[in-house]
């Protein structure tokens, strides 16, 4: 919750200036709550609205579980590595 505004600003900044295709690597994230998840949903909505996508790299069971129990694992594409996410993004 405390870091979510910074995350929102960064993701939306990238979507505004750089690209509509983002890969968010959560592997060094120890903890993900619903506020952060909401920011990712907002970024996904914006990217898809402009023909892009947000792909998530996430192998930590603790973090992946949050996607699973909110069932947002079927809204996002989750990948094990950045390479796989990049390849997925090119398909």
């Amino acid at each position: 919750m405390a870091t979510a505004p910074g995350l929102r600003e960064r993701l939306h900044g990238l979507l505004a200036e750089e690209t509509q295709r983002l890969i968010v690597d959560l592997d060094d994230v120890g903890f993900l709550d619903s506020t952060a998840l909401g920011v990712l949903v907002g970024a996904l909505k914006r990217a898809r609205g402009e023909g892009g996508d947000v792909r998530i790299v996430c192998t930590q069971p603790r973090v992946r579980k949050v996607f699973e129990i909110t069932r947002l694992d079927s809204a996002f594409d989750l990948f094990d590595t950045v390479d796989e996410a990049v390849r997925g993004a090119q398909e």
Binding site: M1, D33, S34, T35, V39, V41, I69, A75
Partner: protein, 154 residues
């Protein structure tokens, strides 16, 4: 912080009064985790579930307090009850209360309309993570009671 020994067989109780500000969220998460690790035998995955559930409850309490003018905000009260196989955490705010039954369920995640909802994920998460979840209208606000047992949920 108050720490009091309950009556015999009633387990330990620890209570914290925490300023209703986001910068205290990580602290609450860490302290409640440590309290549960110290005072119960909950397995690690259940401690992980508790950490997230408490985060969601405290975040909602902060939001409720922050809807009031600055001078009216009260600390959020976090109470832990500890038994070997059972941890209950109550999070109380004086933020006016709400009706959990009135929450609109989100559209199914496979529908594009789901992406309209960036908020409102906290209560569904708490439901999944806890063995019991209760909302009580108390005082001038809400008490959320989270109960987690050693029983592993799938």
């Amino acid at each position: 912080m108050h720490r009091s020994k309950g009556r015999a067989g009633m387990g330990d109780h620890i209570e914290l009064d925490v300023p209703a500000r986001p910068e205290f969220l990580a602290m609450v998460r860490a302290i409640v985790t440590l309290i549960a690790e110290t005072g119960s035998k909950l397995p690690v995955p259940r401690i992980d579930d508790l950490r997230l559930a408490v985060t969601e409850a405290f975040a909602n309490a902060i939001d409720a307090e922050r809807r009031k003018p600055d001078g009216d905000r009260r600390p959020v009260v976090v109470r832990c009850e500890l038994e070997p196989d059972y941890v209950a955490v109550e999070v109380h705010d004086e933020g006016g209360g709400f009706d959990p039954a009135a929450l609109t369920p989100h559209p199914d995640v496979t529908k594009p309309a789901r992406l309209q909802f960036e908020r409102g994920l906290g209560i569904p998460l708490m439901r999944e993570l806890t063995d019991e979840l209760e909302f009580r209208h108390e005082g001038g606000g809400t008490t959320v009671r989270l109960v987690l047992t050693s029983h592993l949920r799938s």
